[in-house]
Symmetry: C2
């Protein structure tokens, strides 16, 4: 799903939007539209393929785990999405970035880990674990990790491991940790603190603003 403002006639920076465990949904499409309103072209990816969305959480988890167990295949699909976005006439192929949420946060970190020629990636409450097939790469992308400190799926140990990994891979990386904040903090439908998932308006606003500033650092101010 590609979102752009057709009142513009020049090519614009292209931003991939990588989906949560649930597959591409209105949530990610809404993020793509907000990016289009900011002056970018945004492609909401579907790495499960063909609009796949499971009917329940366990089914979606099986889709996600299939790709987590074959990170090379996941990375191929992600890079194919990046390549596809670059080919769209609305997109300035030399100026690309990626954002992602939850599983999609892991996806955009994996794009960076491949060493792909992409200006930057932004992970929102992403899974942080290294893929195991990229340790010798150099990260070209600037990396911004937006993280709820109380996220049980990304513990302080995982933060420290990511920091070491990205430093060894020579990444220009940043991590913004939000206190009293759990997994899924950008998702207004998340209300499951027992499972460590909870929407947080403050962290949602702060993380989106941090992403906006990061995109301006990468691409300059966009005309609206």
């Amino acid at each position: 799903m590609l979102a752009w403002d057709d009142a513009r006639d020049s090519a614009r920076p292209g931003i991939l939007v990588a989906h949560t465990i649930g597959g591409r949904s209105e949530f990610e499409e809404g993020k793509a539209r907000r990016l289009a309103e900011l002056g970018y072209v945004a492609l909401a990816l579907d790495v499960y393929g063909k609009g796949t969305q499971g009917s329940d959480f366990d089914t979606n988890r099986s889709f996600m785990n299939a790709l987590l167990n074959d990170r090379g295949e996941l990375q191929s699909r992600l890079l194919a999405g990046l390549q596809f976005m670059r080919q769209q006439p609305e997109v300035d192929a030399a100026r690309t970035a990626a954002i992602g949420f939850c599983f999609g946060g892991l996806c955009v970190l994996d794009i960076a880990r491949t060493g792909a020629d992409i200006a930057g990636v932004v992970s929102f409450h992403g899974l942080l674990a290294a893929p195991g097939n990229t340790a010798d790469n150099t990260v070209a992308a600037k990396v911004l990790v937006l993280h709820g400190w109380d996220d049980p799926m990304a513990t302080p140990d995982a933060v420290e491991a990511l920091a070491k990994e990205l430093t060894l891979m020579r990444a220009d990386w940043q991590l913004h940790a939000y206190g009293n904040t759990m997994h899924a903090f950008t998702n207004p439908a998340a209300h499951d603190p027992q499972q460590g998932k909870q929407y947080d308006r403050g962290a949602d606003d702060r993380s989106w603003a941090a992403m906006e500033n990061f995109l301006v650092e990468l691409f300059g101010k966009q005309e609206k």
Copy 2:
């Protein structure tokens, strides 16, 4: 040292600026002037007192250590500075914040730890260790910690301890970690990577921008 723009006639939010180990200097006074240009009133503190600056690093360390060994006295001086700033006619006493660098980063965290009625504090490459006399307090201030991940004076363990401390004290806290970044990253004179101190232009710019955004979150946009 108070900095303000006398072209304005209304009271403005007041921002304390807490100094490094070196005592109040042109560095902190420059930060105060930049804050005045942004529409705030800024007070560059002198917690050593009477313009004290040691002639060498070891002397300055002795001044700092005297206060680190008496955190209650340090906190009293800081709160006296806050009170003094509130009394200035240029300052809107209901809208105050504090920023600090290195030792001054510790100072502003200590202001927050006292439970002081202050809207927010921003620590730049601050020392993070808890004072030992504030654990039962509730933090009223919003807290933003801007941190070089490779700072040997604030290790990942110290980050984790601070996160636990501030969470227990119910603070609204955030920590921005910058990769490949050492202590003193805002100080253009810092060039001592063997000692873990190094200026970093990228982290300097990012951290100042993060502070500006944080002050807007606290006080709204200021007229310039």
